[in-house]
Subunit: 165 residues, 2 copies
Amino acid sequence: MRILGIDPGSRTTGYGIIETQGNRLRHIDNGIIATNTTAPLATRLKTIHDGVTRIIAEFAPEVVAIEQVFLAKNPQAALVLGHARGTAMVAAVNAGLPVHEYSALQVKSAVVGYGRADKAQVQQMVKALLNLPEIAQEDAADALGVAICHAHSRTLNQALTRTGR
Amino acid sequence: MRILGIDPGSRTTGYGIIETQGNRLRHIDNGIIATNTTAPLATRLKTIHDGVTRIIAEFAPEVVAIEQVFLAKNPQAALVLGHARGTAMVAAVNAGLPVHEYSALQVKSAVVGYGRADKAQVQQMVKALLNLPEIAQEDAADALGVAICHAHSRTLNQALTRTGR
């Protein structure tokens, strides 16, 4: 199964694509969609929508995983982030893909095995799990993390089904 | 010029379509896009996107006007509202339409002539300006209000251009 992970942001939206082969994970691609922060909001949202649509067309994932966002204390920041995240989700549903949401706690638990892991630990484990020497952008590493989280949740669900629990 | 006004919300998104004929305003249509609040967020966003896309296809507006949202004190509410508003904006830009944003102050000033007018006064003036006996939904009335605001701003801009200011 091919999974697209997305880490949405109003400035940069990270993406990461992995493939599950049995219990193994294979890295396919990662990167960011950068918006022009001086452009009007509608233009920036179009950049995100077109970027996600292009990535889906190029890599043909079967499912999208997206992180539930960190709750900013600032309502204005939350509002703008909501625009970006909603746009990324709409691009996925417009492409006919199911969208799964995971909390930061779920991502950390799945990737590091510890829900209070820090950002550096998550990124270190993402690299180790995917056998990548480096990941150029932090947002792309976070997107790979949420894709791995979906892969693990899915494996766990299958195991639970098999053991009849 | 035909103008689509949008009042976005995660539960209901109001829309209103008006046409300017010289200095006159004509009402074309209004209503709401209601989402299933028990459905996953991605599904609700698809309802908003498809609804706005359908309205644009049916009524062929040339421009979209959308209100800058009231800043909720609650970041969670702001985040969800941002998803809905971003989705409506993306549907407009995907249809190739320019999107103009207006603050509540601008809408009230344009419709009532007084920036601190209350909601009931705005809705009363929207009905009077468009010669409508009733507007069934509050969100649709608000959407007509932002469309009227765009019509007035445009008329003012043209007047300023003509007088060379």
